[in-house]
């Protein structure tokens, strides 16, 4: 994965628990890197080690870490990294989700080594859609759930996400049922 992902994990931990905890997590994960370069590709295993170590050090289940990470990615990392691009990708949750496939296509052009997931929206209605998530990586379902929840907060839209088809359960790919309302989050 690109360094920006590991940076996001670092940013989330430092923001919520402090730098010393991050150093402890890195040590636990056996990662000896001071600064992750956003545009540099790092082994996927390193990211999973960091998430696993964060779960161990913070005593939080891995799924919860991934969901929190997904939210953080949308609300902080992506905002900081390509805030303009995020905003330019749509002004509402539905618009953003509709533009998501194109967004990743463009991102992939910029990062040649990127192996991004692909997103596809089907069954689009005014308040729901089916999000098809295809990736060669396993174990990131909860990260996607976190991303959706983060987008709900970003666009001030209450959102519910349910995994309706699971690759882990034998499906071709993961499918999420995403529902939202037009009532703003209080």
């Amino acid at each position: 994965m690109y360094g920006m992902v590991n940076k996001a994990v670092e940013d989330m931990v430092c923001m919520q628990f402090g730098e010393s905890v991050w150093e402890e997590i890195k040590s636990c994960a056996g990662v000896d890197i001071d600064v992750f370069m956003s545009n540099e590709a790092y082994p996927d295993g390193m990211t999973f080690q960091l998430v696993g170590a964060a779960s161990e050090v913070l005593k939080i289940p891995t799924e919860a870490v991934l969901e929190a990470f997904g939210e953080h990615w949308v609300l902080h990392t992506a905002q900081k990294g390509y805030g303009g691009l995020m905003q330019a990708n749509g002004s509402s949750l539905s618009e953003f989700l509709a533009n998501l496939p194109g967004f990743h296509s463009r991102v992939q052009m910029l990062f040649p080594k990127l192996q991004p997931p692909s997103f596809e929206c089907t069954d689009v209605t005014e308040h729901s859609l089916k999000l098809h998530y295809r990736t060669h990586r396993a174990g990131l379902v909860h990260f996607v759930i976190g991303l959706m929840q983060g987008l709900g907060k970003l666009f001030n839209t209450p959102v519910t996400v349910h995994l309706v088809e699971s690759k882990e359960q034998g499906a071709d790919h993961d499918v999420f049922d995403v529902k939202w309302s037009n009532d703003a989050i209080e």
């Binding site: 360094g3 920006m4 940076k7 001071d34 600064v35 992750f36 370069m37 956003s38 545009n39 990294g81 390509y82 805030g83 303009g84 691009l85 905003q87 330019a88 990708n89 749509g90 002004s91 618009e95 533009n99 194109g102 967004f103 463009r106 991102v107 052009m109 910029l110 990062f111």
Partner: protein, 559 residues
């Protein structure tokens, strides 16, 4: 400005609807540079762009510079144009295409941003851009570069901070190195000095041992080990001192009247805990050891053991020779003492002889004379007996005695000499018997004799005019279990400068050959051995030596 190329392979154009989708920000102008058509997205965000409105009212040209007109456009046909919308900050970048058949100018371009955040400011999204438009990709590229720069800055910052830390650490390291070198050299010097000290200690004839704060052996010199070779295991490093004492007792290395090991250890430990202390012990083989104990700076205990057996022997010899000297010195007095009973015997015998010659038989008279002769013989025998015992070697064991008897004995020896030297003797002895002291009575008598003779010699050497020469001896039993025996004269006193070292060995104020008495240092040793002390003070009219002795009911140092 593009011209129709007759050799172009392009044979197809875009229908109006697809053209509008492909160029959502296009403009179509007539030859008067008035708006004929505007792209739908551009019109949505710039609502003042309406048909027939003049271009120069809507935009200003940033590149190239100039005033909007067809000629200006044609002159800069190969350039790209950058306009700024007057009503907003929106910039349009693009090129002009002249369509001679239509006699219109097409401006094909799109908004120019250098930061993606500007898109949202102008109420646009990526979906508003044509897919072929590179502006979106450029914006993302800018963003990627921006992130890379931020990463580089962060890394640079971290490296700078780390370099600062390293520089500081390096400086500290250098300082530490200098300090370490200093400490090392000091340590080496201390080690050499320590080795020298240890070497010296190891060569001493005294046994030296150090105990730590927990009372365990941490150092013993060879002499100490030699002194304790029979209990060598009990003086190894780490052994508890108390266990060493038990080993000494159980190995019968200590001569003591105490039969219970723990009782003796408890007594010895009591002395060990009230430091500094100095005492003597007699060990197996009759040797006498002097033991000094005191605290060290680190809270441990230093012990020095000295074999004083030889010193004791010499002291005894000195006492004996001093006594022999005294006997010669006292011959006059003794002769006088003996003369009295001899005269009585002579006279009584003469009287009996006369009556017998006259034939006067008065048994009562003769019996009375015989009784006087008998009494005088007893008296003479006593004097001779005392002389005999005084001349013996005084190595007898210590035992309780009445200090007044020692005073009487000494006076009996020297009293006549004082009288012949016109020295008045004042004697104040308690009439009632008090507590006894513990020691060798003859040795103590010799101490008293020595003090009296010193006083006599001083009085003779320094006559004080008409004042009568006087020596006063006072014995006082003190209530706190002590007895004081003082010898005071009315001579010139001890010079102040000499008061401090008067008890040092070989100290004397007499001329060579005159000092036949017992040295004050030996007197000091005898009194000390009895658990007492001797001090000297100058009074208003002479010198006073005072001996303080514990009575035998008082606690004495353990063996």
């Amino acid at each position: 400005m593009k011209q129709d190329n007759p050799h172009s392979t392009s044979q197809f154009g875009l229908p109006p609807q697809q053209f509008a989708t492909a160029f959502p920000f296009h403009l179509v102008l007539n030859m008067q540079m008035e708006i004929l058509q505007v792209g739908t997205t551009l019109q949505r965000i710039c609502t003042d762009i309406l048909p027939s409105v003049s271009m120069d009212k809507l935009f200003e040209s940033i590149r190239p510079e100039g005033i909007f007109c067809v000629d200006w456009v044609l002159e800069n046909a190969r350039s790209f144009f950058l306009f700024k919308h007057r009503a907003s900050d929106l910039k349009l970048r693009g090129e002009f295409v002249f369509l001679p058949s239509e006699n219109v100018l097409l401006f094909l371009g799109s908004p120019w941003f250098i930061d993606a955040s500007e898109i949202a400011i102008h109420k646009l999204s990526f979906a508003d851009f044509a897919t072929h438009d590179v502006v979106v990709d450029m914006l993302q590229l800018f963003q990627v570069n921006k992130m890379a720069l931020e990463d580089a800055n962060k890394l640079s910052g971290k490296l700078t901070a780390q370099r600062g830390v390293l520089r500081l650490a390096n400086e500290n390291l250098k300082k530490q190195e200098v300090k370490t070198q200093q400490l090392t050299s000091e340590l080496l010097r201390s080690r050499d000095e320590m080795a020298e000290v240890v070497d010296t200690i190891n060569q001493l004839k005294e046994g030296i041992a150090f105990l730590d704060c927990d009372d365990r052996f941490v150092f013993t010199n060879p002499e100490y080990l030699r002194m304790h070779k029979k209990v060598i295991d009990s003086v190894q490093i780490g052994v508890l001192f108390e266990d060493h004492l038990r080993a000494l007792f159980n190995a019968r290395e200590i001569v003591t009247h105490i039969i219970d090991c723990e009782e003796w250890v408890a007594k010895r430990m009591a002395a060990h805990r009230s430091l500094p202390s100095e005492f003597e012990v007699v060990i197996a083989g009759g040797k006498t050891l002097n033991i000094r104990e005191q605290f060290t700076h680190s809270g441990g205990i230093a012990m020095v053991i000295r074999d004083i057996s030889e010193q004791k022997k010499l002291q005894a010899q000195l006492v004996h020779s001093s006594k022999l000297a005294s006997l010669g010195d006292m011959a006059t007095g003794v002769a006088h003492e003996l003369n009295q009973p001899l005269n009585i015997i002579s006279m009584a015998a003469g009287n009996v002889e006369r009556t017998l010659k006259r034939g006067e038989f008065g048994p009562e008279y003769q019996l009375e004379k015989m009784q006087r002769i008998k009494e005088s013989v007893v008296r003479a025998s006593k004097i001779i007996g005392h002389l005999r015992s005084f001349g013996r070697d005084a190595n007898e064991a210590a035992q309780p005695f009445d200090p007044r008897d020692a005073v009487r004995g000494a006076i009996g020896m020297i009293g006549e000499q004082l009288r012949l030297s016109s020295i008045e003797l004042l004697l104040a002895l308690p009439s009632k018997a008090g507590a006894q002291v513990f020691g060798n009575a003859l040795r103590f008598e010799q101490v008293l004799l020595s003090l009296i003779r010193n006083a006599r010699d001083e009085l003779i050497a320094h006559p004080s005019g008409l004042a009568p020469k006087r020596i006063q001896i006072v014995v006082v039993f003190q209530p706190q279990g002590q007895v004081s025996i003082s010898v005071e004269d009315n001579g010139p006193g001890v010079p102040v400068a000499l008061l401090e070292n008067i008890f040092d060995p070989f100290f004397t104020t007499k001329k060579v050959g005159k000092g036949t008495g017992l040295g004050l240092s030996v007197s000091y040793g005898i009194v000390n051995e009895m658990g007492g002390k001797i001090v000297v003070v100058n009074t208003s009219g002479g010198a006073r030596f005072e001996i303080i002795l514990p009575t035998i009911h008082q606690e004495r140092n353990p063996d």
